[in-house]
Symmetry: C2
Subunit: 381 residues, 2 copies
Amino acid sequence: LTSVTAVQPERSRPRLGQLIEAHHFDAVVAVSLENVYYASGVPIMTQRLIPSRLAFVVATPDDEASMVVCSIEVAQVHLESWIRDVRGYTEFADSPVAVLADLLREKGLARGRIGIETAALGHRYFAELESLLPEATIVDGDELFLRARSVKSSAEIALYEHAAAATNRSIRDVFSAARIGDTEIQLAERLEERVRVEGADGAAFTVLATGLNARLAHPSPGLVELSAGDVLRTDFGGYFGARYAGYMTDLARTAIVGEPTGAQSSTYQRLFEVHLSLLEALRPGVAACDIFELARRGFEKRDLPFRMPHVGHSIGLSIHEEPMLSPMTTAELQEGMVLAVEPITITDDGIFHVEDLVTITADGARILSSAHDWAELMSVG
Amino acid sequence: LTSVTAVQPERSRPRLGQLIEAHHFDAVVAVSLENVYYASGVPIMTQRLIPSRLAFVVATPDDEASMVVCSIEVAQVHLESWIRDVRGYTEFADSPVAVLADLLREKGLARGRIGIETAALGHRYFAELESLLPEATIVDGDELFLRARSVKSSAEIALYEHAAAATNRSIRDVFSAARIGDTEIQLAERLEERVRVEGADGAAFTVLATGLNARLAHPSPGLVELSAGDVLRTDFGGYFGARYAGYMTDLARTAIVGEPTGAQSSTYQRLFEVHLSLLEALRPGVAACDIFELARRGFEKRDLPFRMPHVGHSIGLSIHEEPMLSPMTTAELQEGMVLAVEPITITDDGIFHVEDLVTITADGARILSSAHDWAELMSVG
């Protein structure tokens, strides 16, 4: 068992402090599991399981941070987080938002400009906070976290070097061993078991689809069996670095059960050509929307149906991070980003989908997931 | 492989329609993964993975329902949901909230009284909806969904009969086979594999803790090894009925590695006595807070430290549902509820925790997870 759980990417988040200052906030408040983990280093499992058990990290420009968590989780925070100022609330008896408001007041921020995650924080809680701090200016702080997380540290990139290769090997091995008659569920479970053996802390999501399911974007694996001529597609990611709040991988691979037809091979080959052209175009300074446009033109030129709202995305603690490779995203790629590139085309046989992970270096994209091993349409079974 | 994925608990939700009428709403809007699944029958995996990819179900008193989802998921909804009116939005190009507002307007609800999930819906989206429907009365609808879900159908109870027993067997078998030197991660993975063999669609959460971790509520399984004299505790649940949005189980078991000391056995025995007294007290008409109070007195009488904010909870598509067995919950238990009862006490050796699943019948609680098999403190290794 190779475990990378010992990787502790950071002991603080200097990018966050710099951005708080640059954005002229007096404080920002992390709300979501991902941002609480990013800003504190502690993955609080119950944030996912029990949404009413709110947790907050309050970060200020001086890199001081405080935390509000359910009293049940305080011991774990003391053990695992670099934050020393931890306030517990008693579930049901105390309002977590009231404890947050007290903390902000204590920090002299009752009239401050406070950025908070307005997409993740339920309206009910936002309204409570506004009523408790009527003189504060409470605004959207999502973008600041997204910007902080969009450029990875060297420790985060090192984690992805391992994680992307491990995820790719897992898919390759499960596809290689797949046989006609295997069910989607069997293959999905082998994949999830295999990625843990390769060092993942768990599977984050598993699309493993064949037959009719291969025409859906995100079906659950079922009892459908591999059958000659069918498409077999996976879109799969693991958690690395923490079991419920780690860094996610996201790779997609398409194969044919038995020998591909000429039409299947041709579709895949054209899709893969576009894929390579996108990977080659990635470099610092290129606008994300230009990669999208390159894909659109590449599909058109090769007579492939193009219906994607995006052709890839940054990735990290969330599966889709900014920048998205979408027509609306004018942000430029930067060195240190980790991106998933994923052109997709839909045929009568099912969805053809390839997806690889790269990191952006000064010289262009470094591919982390052995894309070139998938240049030929794989035949399984 | 025993699979219960074929269980389709419902083809509609009559309780929801009745409650919409009783609460004098013109419509309610489901937002969370759990309520969207409850109100539509389709588990949309990306609701968990990609929170910005909003999905809504609009339900009205006449039991008509409409749905708004990302265009990527429309094909799955058509295949899996009983809802026929499905509106897709193009990610990034369209605002999902604007599509929802158009739908509500089309249904003649621009001046209606609309209940929406204000805890799950981010403030940003709520504010957008209010600005698009300035004449509507948009209020909190969470309680309506909680009430609808709190009483299970016979199909849901049948699912829990299987699921609770399967989860209990999985823990029993993994504990029985555990050996000194096994790590938390090894045991956690065996448990997760085993529950799938027993018919779960996946593990929902896994606390598997020994040594120092046994003192934390929700640590991630690590490389800690089983060592004689240590507490081994699990708090574990699987998904049944759907892979990312199914019904969850939640059982806790405590054992000792090697022979328990007299003090350990005594603590466990007293805890278990309280546990049995709670199980015996459950019946229709009893207030949830009275069960909490019974636990408090039972702990006090037996000289056990009592620090729980609750001693159990209803369970279903969410791990904690209403009623909570908390001091604040005056709601009465009803026939058809499924509850987890979980007294906990904290000792110097770690947390002692037992948790069983029951369904409330006219005659009292029917135990679904073989609680009595755990009356003696188990010795493992």
